[in-house]
Structures are given as C-alpha cells and as structure tokens.
Symmetry: C2
Subunit: 359 residues, 2 copies
C-alpha cells in the first residue's frame, strides 16, 4: 500500500488508522452482514455510530448544555444561506467581517435575505489578515456578527475572536477542532467536514439552543436548525457513511489526546514551516505574521516559474496538493489535524533543498 | 464474510461487487497513495469519477440533450424546497398530487414559497394507490405538476405518468433507474440516492435546461439548479465518496444490461411476492393491484401479533428490514435493483412456511 503526503486543502488527508478501520468493516460491518452504508439510519448499528459521534464532539469541544450539536448537508456554502434564513429577523441587520474569499461568499448569500453591514472590509489586502478589534463598525442591535475563523485560501486565521453583544457566528470549516475554544462565546459555529473532520458531504453545526428556538418560523422545515435539533439530526436520512467517518475521526482525536494535543501539534507543525519561511528571503509568507494560519500555510516564491517548478518537484517526491488556490496562485500547504508531522518535516527539508538549488 | 438479505427501505442494499471494489481501493485509490475521499474534488482522479458518473446516468436513462444531470446534497427533502424556490414564479400556482406521506411533505414545503393546488388528494386511502388521469384538477398555467412516482411507505407506484401542459416534476427517490422512462416528458426529476442508486448524502437531479435557465433569480446561488448545471455539479465541494459509489453502481448497472434488464428483473422479483400474496387470504397487499410497486412490496398479516412474529422469525433467518414504516405498520419488503433475486425467493419460501405454521 502506497501513502503519499497529501497537502490538499479539502477534501483532505484523514488519519490512516480511520481509513484502515473503515476498510476492514466496509462490506460486513461488525458481523452484521451489511455495510454501514446499507443500513437504515433508524437501526441500532447506525444509531450507535450517530450518537457516539455527537457525544464525541461534545466531549472534544467541551460543548456546554446551552448549545446543541447537529449534522447537516450542503457544506458551509449552504450555511451561508441557512444562517440568515434562521437568525436574521425582519427589520434587523447582520454584521459580517469580509476577511477574504469565503467571507465574501457568505456576505453575498446573506444579502438575499436581508440587511447586511460589512463591519470591516480587508478581504483583498495583501499580506492577508484578520480583523483588528478597533476597526469593527458594528451595528447596535445586530442579529449577529459573522466571521470566518480561518480563510482557507489566504491562510489568515483569527487568533482572538471579537467580543460582541450580538451572537457571534463563525465559519470554522478549516480549523474546527484544531485548537481549544470557549464554545459559550459563540451563538453558532458551522464547519464543512472535508478539511479537519472527515469526508465531504456532512456539515457540523453547533448552535445556542435559544437561537435555534427563536429562529424565523416561516422557512422550510429542512432549513430550520430547530428541526435538526429536535430530531437529533435524524429528521431526514443523514449522510450515514460520512457521519460514520466523523465518528472514527473523533475516536482517533480522543486517542491522540483531544483538542489540546492537536493544538500543540498544529502549533509545532506550522512553526516548522513559518520559521523556515522567516529564515530566508526566498520564501515570503502571504499572511501577516500575527494572523498566520496553523492549518493553511501560504507563501510565495520569487517568481511564478519557480512556484510551478516547486509544485512539480514536490509532486515527484510524493508531496501532493501544494498548489495555491486557483484564484490567488502561490503555494499552500494545508496541514490539518490528520496531516502527519513527518510530512511537514519532509516538506521543510524539500524547501531547503529547493532554495539551495534555485535560490 | 457474512451477507444477509437486507430489505431496508433506505439506506438500502448495494451490489456486493461495488462494495468489494470500493473496499479494495479504499485506502490507496488506484496506486495514488490517497483514499478517493481524501482527494481534491478538482483533481484528476476525482474528476474522472465525477464525469463518468454523469455520463453513465445519461446513458442509462437515455437523457436527451435538452436536459442536464446534476448532483446535489440534502436529499429529496431539500428538493421539496428547491423545486418551488426555482420553478414557482410569483403569481403562479403549482399543482401537487397528494399520493401519500412523501407527497404530503413536498406539499407542505411548497406552501412556504407560494400558491399550491392539490390536484388530487388520496394520500390516506387504503388500499393505497396513485392518481387516475380523470381525477386530476389541474390549474391552467400552473408552474408545474408535482408527483411522487413511488410512495416508499405505501408501496403505490405510478404506472402511467400524467400528460400535462405544465412541466412534470417527479420525486423518483425510490424507483429511479428501476424501469425505462421517456425523460423528455419530464421537466424535473429528483431522487435521493440511498434507495436505488448508492449511499445517502447525494441527490440526483435531471432538469430541462430551459427550466433551469428561467428559474427565479433572487434565491441563493447554492439553491439554484442553474448554478449546479453551469458548474457541472462542482460549484462547491460535492459529496465525493457518495458520487464515487454512484459511479460504481452505474458501472454495475451497465454490466447487468442497463435499465431494461433491471425492469425485467424488478417485474419478476415483485411478481414472485405479489403472486404469493394473491394466492392466499393470509397475506393482504396494501396497494391497489394496478398500482403495486415493484420496489416496495407492502402487505399485512391477519393480526399485528402475527406481523411482529413474522418480522422476528425472518430476522432470525437473516432477512432484515421487513418492518413497515413506523407510521403505518405492516410488512414492507424493499427490493430495489441491487436486491438479489435469491433473496426474494428466500422470502417467498419463508412466507409459505410462516403461513403453514401460523395460518
């Protein structure tokens, strides 16, 4: 069996142990004579997986009783609509921080449903960054403030979340479970699974119960957070195999020492690359140092030709997925929880060699 | 490896060959050093799978050039909203046939968006059935007529689709690909995958191009059919592993002889059970004979106690999932394309033995 270093921004590398476990049980799940993906979502086997996944998330993230955890479909892109549909009440304004490509999409969809105030707009600045507390122009009585905790494309990550009176809503698709958080400070968190949690096709949502209960009523049942809260994410058929993979990944995370262990590992992994970038003029980080992402390490080389050569030579050494997003170019090393530290060390060694050869 | 007969209504049994293929390739997809679920949805491996799945559906269903095929998320339950959001224009009325539990849900969600006319309402009749052509009270200039081709719970299936001036929209979640269809007669078809196509988490949609192009504009990008048409279902990250399984299932279907072969097989499998039901008073079919589903064979026994004993004894003989939907009780044998004919024969033999013992 071959295994490469997969720096893809998402769908992304998963813990090898979880893949091997799923493979072993794939056709005949625990002697049941069925694959887990062939089973009724209301049967005992799947229900055990579903409940364990919910419980593991609650434990790993220390989610308080004031908040509910639900699984939905449609990715973060659907949440861009579900959030205002539910939480932006008639006559209210929602505040959004435009920190980059993903925030911009969230803002565009929110405008379909109501009044939007862009509280800070620096999505096109280079070096890329997140907001400073003193630049936010917040709306009194805003429905919520929306932020993007980690801009996957730009590699800029919020280090201190805004303190607000309005409920804080955050798209955490690319850094959920990568660090300890005080969940009680958030009104709603959502994350597409395919970066830090599991395969694509399932979205993790954590919502304050009172916000779900007080959401707009005249929207489809399927798009109401409260529907999924009240039905423990079994209102309709969930993406059962994706939830099963989430369950395996959360088990793995617990065995690794949970979020605290991941945070230490992610700090170490990203520091290896940022220290190397800072030690030379050959590589230039894309994000302001104080906002550098521990998940998506973005940098440039002196020329686009060198960047193309870098990607090609890395790929030949079984380091794949290093090409920056097509909208911005450059290099992006996505090193989520499941990305092994040896892979980061291998990339760092390659970067040194590449500079020695081409610098 | 153990393999039982799984009569689950969905998620449901899949072709054993497709599960074994996916298992073999699960950790290291075709020597790439990655699982297919770890790969970028914009990379060459996944793209080949995605395009093949689309092409296979077009071939299997003889989808004409006037129609597009897209993959979405959120199941048929989300389509209950997406259909009126896109196709029910201001000032128009949409016609719906209330044929049972699933149609009823579709109607409720449509009412959130506009005017709905229930063209026929027999959803609570027993024996269960589908509409007669002469009972439909259609609205002149209706946005569309919505029907549910196969009511999974009641076991009633449309045999001749209504002829209408308005675009015909059909929820085909539980019988898509089970029989030949003239796709040109439909404006829009949707189907959650987890019954006849693959795992839960992906929805197949076939839409007439002009309907997608003329859909309501002021709705979120993610909920517009045209967004997914224009982006070949890659506007956002698709549920890649679910699409991969669809690809394997469509390959299997082609190898079996396509939809014509499935239709013959499904007619034969369901006739085995209905013939047995008609040969005795011990078993009573739930649906009117002319509307009997080839996919979900629903029937009752003389008492609920006997039904409970039937389900229990069948389960002990490795025939699982025969319990009727919790809302209606009784017995339901779901025998989708992938359900093996030997399993139907085994159930028929068990039914004869059970009657001899308890009748």
């Amino acid at each position: 069996m071959k295994r490469i270093y997969n720096f893809s921004a998402g769908p992304a590398t998963l813990p090898l142990e979880t893949l091997q476990q799923a493979q072993a049980d794939f056709v005949d799940y625990q002697g049941s004579g069925m694959s887990i993906m062939e089973m009724s979502h209301r049967g005992k086997h799947y229900d055990a997986v579903h409940q364990e996944a919910l419980a593991n998330f609650r434990e790993l993230l220390s989610v308080p009783d004031t908040h509910e955890i639900v699984f939905m479909q449609g990715g973060a892109t659907s949440q861009f609509s579900f959030v205002p549909m539910n939480l932006l009440h008639p006559g209210q304004t929602a505040d959004y921080i435009n920190s980059g490509a993903w925030a911009k999409k969230a803002i565009a969809e929110a405008k379909v449903f109501g009044s939007v105030n862009v509280a800070a707009d620096f999505g096109k600045e280079i070096p890329t960054r997140q907001a400073y507390a003193d630049e936010l122009k917040l709306t009194p009585g805003a429905a919520y403030l929306h932020c993007t905790s980690n801009e996957t494309i730009s590699g800029a990550q919020i280090k201190a979340f805004p303190e607000t009176e309005a409920p804080l809503v955050s798209d955490m698709s690319s850094d959920i479970l990568s660090r300890a958080l005080d969940i009680s400070k958030f009104g709603l968190i959502y994350a597409g699974a395919q970066k830090n949690l599991g395969p694509s096709g399932v979205t993790l949502v954590i919502i304050r119960k009172d916000l779900a209960e007080q959401a707009n009523a005249n929207i489809p049942e399927m798009f109401k957070y409260q529907t999924h809260v009240a039905n423990q994410s079994l209102y309709n058929t969930p993406p059962t195999f994706a939830v099963y993979m989430l369950c395996l990944v959360t088990r793995w995370l617990k065995a690794q020492g949970g979020v605290a262990a991941m945070e230490a590992l992610n700090n170490r992994k990203s520091a290896t690359l940022y220290d190397l970038i800072d030690s030379t003029d050959f590589y230039r980080g894309t994000a302001l140092p104080e906002f550098r992402s521990t998940m998506n390490v973005t940098f440039r080389l002196p020329t686009e030709e060198l960047e193309a050569a870098f990607i090609k030579e890395a790929k030949a050494m079984d380091m794949d997925g290093l090409k920056g997003h097509r909208s911005v170019g450059g290099i992006r090393a996505s090193i989520y929880n499941a990305f092994p530290e040896e892979g980061v060390d291998a990339l760092a060694a390659f970067m040194k060699d590449f500079e020695a050869k081409h610098g």
